[in-house]
Assembly symmetry: C2
Homo-oligomer: 152 residues x 2
DNA sequence: GGTGAAATCCTCGGGGG
DNA sequence: CCCCCGAGGATTTCACC
């Protein structure tokens, strides 16, 4: 599907705050409520909008220890790769996992309570997965910027 | 604030889908609609819930080229650090920026259309910021897992 | 934490340019 | 095709138990 200027603005607005009423959106877009409603439905049906979620403050729930973790596999047979990706997907501490270029195979974003919980995670959860060659962890000292809104 | 089992379940549900009605939530939590309403308001007022957003499909809007970019500064005077963090916060291509431990100072998540746009971003936008020593880019080959929901 | 009612909103049929 | 109006039904919100 293609987007006009109004669609782009609408996507931007919903990425910033999805709890706005269609009425509020209609004011900002100079449209009727129905027109806004139909544009949103179109974006949802075309899977441009994936889902609506609540974002929570990680330090309010004792999950303020964030780590980026590089992982290298011993071998890269399809069997090993699939197994690793499956297991990682099931670890709740891993919010994100990317197959990346460079010295390591994967980059993981891990979030836990503190250093103790991270050690526990590494020893008992992550490295329990077979075929992991080596890991390299980088601890987040400060979150400078973090948005889910992709500019369009 | 402290959470009971119902709060935790509620947070989990809202992180998965914030468009559920309070009625649907009340069924899943075995509560009345009003009780759900008040619990949500409490979470919002205590900033446990930060905001509500629409998540969009990046490849549906021509932003499928994702890169993690390490950045090292030449110096680490407060002036340089503040300047860099300000400038990065204003770059729409940069969704996330973390001050991290390790060989580099910062880790950035950058999202653009394609390799050409990335080159353009590096040459004309990122490295135009003063005091940047060196960079190292890792391209995302495949997104194995990506969630905003922190398990509680 | 629950009940009930008012205010507001979502949703969709019908019609216009 | 994209937009607007209007109305029914659902939802949010709040005073009160």
């Amino acid at each position: 599907m293609t987007f006009d200027a109004i669609d782009r603005k609408l996507i931007q607005l919903l990425q910033e705050d999805s709890k706005q009423t269609n009425k509020e959106l209609s004011n900002k877009l100079n449209l009727s409520v129905t027109a806004v409603y139909e544009r949103i439905k179109k974006l949802e049906n075309h899977n441009v909008i994936n889902k609506y979620v609540a974002l929570i403050n990680n330090d309010k729930i004792e999950k303020s220890f964030v780590t980026f973790c590089h992982v290298k596999l011993i071998q890269h047979t399809q069997e090993y790769v699939i197994k690793f990706e499956e297991e990682v997907a099931n670890l709740p501490e891993v919010l994100e996992c990317y197959h990346i270029s460079g010295d390591y195979d994967y980059l993981l974003k891990v979030i836990v309570k503190d250093m103790g919980a991270f050690r526990e995670f590494m020893v008992n959860r992550l490295t329990k997965i077979n075929h992991i060659g080596s890991t390299l962890s980088m601890f987040v000292i400060n979150e400078v910027k973090h948005t889910t809104a992709i500019s369009i």
